[in-house]
């Protein structure tokens, strides 16, 4: 974008573009106002609105439960915090398995392919049930029967499959000529991967992986189905105590407070990366 030099008269093009901009801003503002007004005026006219307002948007229930929800959310953050690095490591390992070229290591390659096929093909909640109830069912002694361990493991194995695919796409995106250059210098396959291919590949897939970790942050709530009292479960407890759904709205707001900035940041990274190409 080139702005006219300071003090210079605007060019014909600049005048035309500013007129266009003003017009489209006006239209956008007008249509937004109409829709917001419609929602504010029409929704309360719905026959069930009073009941919904009382059970979902109840101010006093919100105020009483919100601190407890925030506290429960700390558990979501903790689960996320120990799962995320393990997912990154396992995902990278699986991605590397899928990239080995040595025929001796073919079983590793097959394992990588099978792994990603299986865990990308299953609903997360199903894996959480199977692992979270199944493994402690073997009669393991405390603390090895904890749903925290096995629930986290379920999240880790599922998300590692997605991360592995993202990393593999990053590896594939590095042009063959980089590999040729590294090999022509006498670098081994392993050094070529470690020093030439991976640093570039991982950088390329940061935004895509960020999106996966945002999804993980939300899916931590699924662990509530096998025991841990994290925010979703805590909201459920409040709902039963107070016969009111407002705690769920509070939980939703807490999730959004984390995921919206993170999503925006991932989008920003992605846009910046596109700009660089």
């Amino acid at each position: 974008m080139s702005l006219p030099p300071q003090g210079a008269a605007p060019t014909r093009r600049a005048i035309y573009e500013s007129r266009l901009r003003r017009r489209s801003n006006l239209i956008a503002a007008g249509s937004t106002a109409v829709i917001v007004a419609a929602i504010i005026l029409l929704v309360p006219l719905a026959p069930g609105w009073e009941a919904v307002k009382k059970s979902f948007f109840n101010g006093s229930v919100f105020a009483r439960t919100f601190p407890g929800l925030l506290e429960a959310f700390l558990l979501d953050i903790a689960i996320f915090a120990w799962c995320a690095p393990l997912i990154a490591v396992l995902g990278l390992a699986i991605a590397l398995c899928r990239d080995v070229r040595n025929p001796v290591l073919f079983p590793l390659r097959a394992f990588g392919a099978l792994y990603t096929d299986i865990f990308r093909g299953l609903p997360v909640i199903l894996v959480i049930y199977l692992v979270g109830f199944g493994i402690p069912g073997l009669g393991l002694p405390r603390p090895w029967n904890s749903p925290y361990i096995w629930g986290s493991l379920a999240l880790i194995v599922v998300y590692a499959a997605y991360v592995a695919e993202v990393i593999r796409s990053g590896i594939d995106s590095i042009h063959q000529s980089q590999r040729a250059a590294a090999q022509s210098l006498g670098l081994s396959e392993a050094d070529t991967m470690r020093y030439v291919i991976l640093p570039q590949a991982l950088r390329n897939v940061v935004p895509a992986n960020m999106n996966l970790f945002i999804a993980l942050q939300k899916d931590v709530a699924l662990l509530s189905f096998i025991g841990p009292v994290e925010i979703f479960r805590q909201a459920g407890v409040y709902k039963s105590l107070m016969a009111n759904f407002t705690p769920y709205v509070g939980a939703a707001l807490i999730f959004l407070a984390v995921t919206i900035p993170a999503t925006r940041y991932a989008d920003y990274l992605m846009a910046r990366q596109r700009g660089q190409r």
Binding site: S177, Q178, A180, A181, A182, Q183, S184, L185, G186, L187, S188, D191, Y195, V196, P199, Q200, R203
Partner: protein, 242 residues
């Protein structure tokens, strides 16, 4: 016996016979230019010598060792045979000096302290000392290609393969890269150069080979090839490019 002896080498990609029996020998300190139309097999021949492509048949004897032997570990060979590519292929996430030091450190286990002086000397020699810590995208094409040459030289190769290294450059940048080759030639570096720079080939080559459809149709001194080509095809190629 020559330093590099290529005997009866063939290479196909599927049904496409890119190299159809090439014999060529290169002496130590010689500069051999490969000329010919795109697709005549120049690049593929160089990639075969660097073992980036396995040859189908024939021998490539480097200093008495047949490096085309199937199953041979390519890495020791590549340490002796440097290669520079048309599109530079620098590693974009490393600075110029990191690009140059990577292979000596990983392959020859040199420490940065050991490399500091000789690497700086190479950069200084080719006029890039002030650009050592820049990333490739902050360098011009000619500078990037000179860094790529330094990167190959840092492994102290015995022969340098140069694959159309000026073809991707703006015309005004070609000269600075060719100057590097002139310096290397006066050092006695053995080089094979696939090129479209006929003027340069004529000026500095010891031997010029004209490739046509995967074969060396004609080879000789620059004088023989450029002033008195024997084959009609060589004549028509030269008429088109000169």
């Amino acid at each position: 016996m020559s330093f590099l002896d290529i005997r009866g080498v063939t290479k196909s990609f599927g049904d496409n016979r890119v190299i159809r029996g090439i014999d060529l020998s290169v002496e130590k300190g010689e500069l051999v230019c490969l000329i010919g139309a795109s697709g005549s097999g120049k690049s593929t021949l160089l990639r075969c010598i660097n073992l980036l492509e396995p040859v189908d048949d024939g021998e490539i004897v480097l200093d008495g060792i047949d490096i085309a032997e199937p199953g041979l570990d390519p890495r020791p060979v590549r340490q002796r045979v440097g290669m520079v590519f048309q599109s530079y292929n620098l590693f974009p996430h490393m600075t110029a000096v990191q690009n140059v030091m990577l292979a000596p450190r990983r392959v020859k286990s040199r420490t940065p302290a050991q490399l500091e002086e000789p690497v700086r000397a190479l950069f200084r020699r080719f006029g890039l000392e002030s650009h050592m810590d820049k990333y490739p995208d902050a360098l011009s094409g000619g500078q990037q290609q000179r860094v790529a040459i330094i990167r190959a030289l840092a492994m102290e190769p015995e022969i340098l393969l140069l694959d159309e290294i000026t073809s991707a450059l703006d015309p005004e940048l070609v000269g600075e890269v060719l100057d590097v080759l002139r310096q290397l030639r006066s050092d006695g570096m053995t080089m094979m150069l696939a090129t479209h720079e006929m003027g340069f080939a004529r000026e500095v080559a010891d031997k010029v080979c004209f490739l046509n459809e995967g074969q060396i149709l004609e080879s000789g001194t620059p004088g023989e090839i450029f002033t008195a080509p024997k084959h009609e095809r060589t004549r028509s190629f030269l008429a088109r490019v000169l």
